[in-house]
Amino acid sequence: MQLFFQHLINALQWGSFYALIALGYSMVYGILMLFNFAHGDIFMVGAYIGFGVATALAALAAMSALALPNWLILVLTILIAMYLTSFVGMLVERIGYRPLREAPRASAAITGLMIGIILETGNLAILGAQRIRFPSLIKTSVYDIGGVVVTNKKIMIVVVSLVLMLALNEFIRRTRWGMAMRAMAFDYVVIPLMGVPLNTIASLTFALGSALAAAAGILFAVAYPVLDPYIGITYGWKAFVAAILGGRGSVKGACLAGFLLGFIEIFVGAYLSSSLRDLIAYSIILLILVFRPHGFFGEPHSAKLRL
């Protein structure tokens, strides 16, 4: 039983990354009906920006008398990196998606894919081939609760991700911008005619998604502090699976599916076979889709989208 709880806690942490990345996919998909294949690499860029900010802040704290505690540096890093990465997201939208809004949807997906490759290669060209160690800002403390091992990092990661997801949900539910986004998801042909600026909303969508990806990137770097330019590829595609599995443009669905994917991967690896993990995990996903072809919260045959 304690083993089960151990796996459960591991899965919670692992799932929260998928969920956070999947949200970005899900919003773009819900509102603009496009696949943003650059998203995995925005996650990577976010982690790298976080690395830059954290290093700079730590150096600043060391140099001046300014006694920044490490947890504050981490919080500042997350916030600043989210802010900066949102511009990367907007840039991606401006270059790769806005000119292609009328084009076949897959074409925009390809530009996204290509921007992703440019981001990877650009990173390799600028920073060189070495992998980067993310500075360990908070000291790991291990708590042993009845045989189940929990670290403060794990708790922090899960809590921060949940807070961000709730914040996004509130933003979309309660603010005017959120309402505009929901409206746009409902119908992006008519709503702009009613005076809602499509371009702004598209930028906002990408900015929000990228900010979440940056947060995911930094949390990821805190948990797994080794960064390389290609970390975004696999997680990006897997989170893409989660986003669509959650249902078209559903925030709730994307979160749920992200956690579910994390749980499936961890539990299959733990109880069935770690070498057959991908095989079994994605067969389960296939089966889910056979029975719920529209994901968890998607509606069949509809242009009506929910956000």
């Binding site: 083993l3 942490q13 948990a223 797994y224």
Partner: protein
Amino acid sequence: MRKGLLLVVLILVVGLALSPCAWAKAKTIKVGINAPITGDIPKVGEGSKYAAEMWLEDIKAAGGLEVGGEKYMVEVIVEDNESKPESAAKAATKLITEDEVLAIVGPQASSQAIPAGEMANNYGTPMISPWSTNPDTTKDRPFVFRGCFLDPFQGPVVANFIKDEFGFQKAAVLYDIASDYPKGLAEVFKEAWEKLNGAGSVVAFESFTTKDADFSSQLTNIINSGAQFLFTPQYYNEVALIVQQAQELGFKGPIVGSDSWGSAETVKLCGEACYGLFFSTHYAAAGATGATKEFIERYEKKYGYTPDDVGALTWDALRIVQTAIESTGKLTGDLEKDRMAVKDALANIKEFDGITGKMTFTPDGDPIKCAVIVRISEKGEFEFYKSACP
């Protein structure tokens, strides 16, 4: 339109007149490097490239390569194989037919070295893969050699070391099932360990897939299995994650690795978590003497970090090629004959004194060389601990 055309023609003519024509072909020896500059393992490509640059510098300083009393200029051509098999085959073919190299060093990883070796062998060009451990790379290919020892040697070395040093009974192995090298070594190690301690003494044999970052489910199972130590023949980036997560989850035993740990990055990425751990490798950087020390210091000075095992192995491979070319006695200028001569010279090399140890090639083209067990010291340096020879 017409004016433009005229201008183009004019520019072409002028440019042609100014071009540094290779009217008289200088005597050069070309050596190809087939390395993964882009793709999954760019650091490996970088290490190979840097080692080649340093080697070229040496040759230039000596005024060229002397073969049979004649000095030849040397040109190194680095070709990117994008860490893809078909691209490695293309790069090898390009080096052989277009650049007309005398010998090729690389590719490093087996999944590229096997197809590239096929081309090199078919087209009669000697090739040394410094880093590939898959037996298929050199098997039945007289033109293909390698610069490192094989899994069947390294696995038992590690197993014996642990048995002698700690006297453990129960082992756990964690490896990447999608990657050639870790998988091969993990299997060999399992076999060796079970030979020492009886069947079932490997209590956990867990795997993951390349690019995974979370090993918590596997590690939880390993801890639960009661293993006394963990053997993980992984690359340094994964080592950092595995060691850290294992310790966080409460694994108390030692974690032991293989030559893929042999990179300055292991300590850089892993930090203090890795201090005091052991691994088997080709050479120990700290406390090295003679040529090895000189190489490490030069590399550090030039590129700012301690060379990886790949850099050292590439360096050795290039030096072997150099020795082989020099010992041919005479280059005819007929590429086919020269390549054949270099191949024969390579196969006849005895007790080559490289920075990663002395080596002699078996008829299959695999070297016979010693392994060392290295301990990561409290200063984060790789200390020599023990050596094991075949």
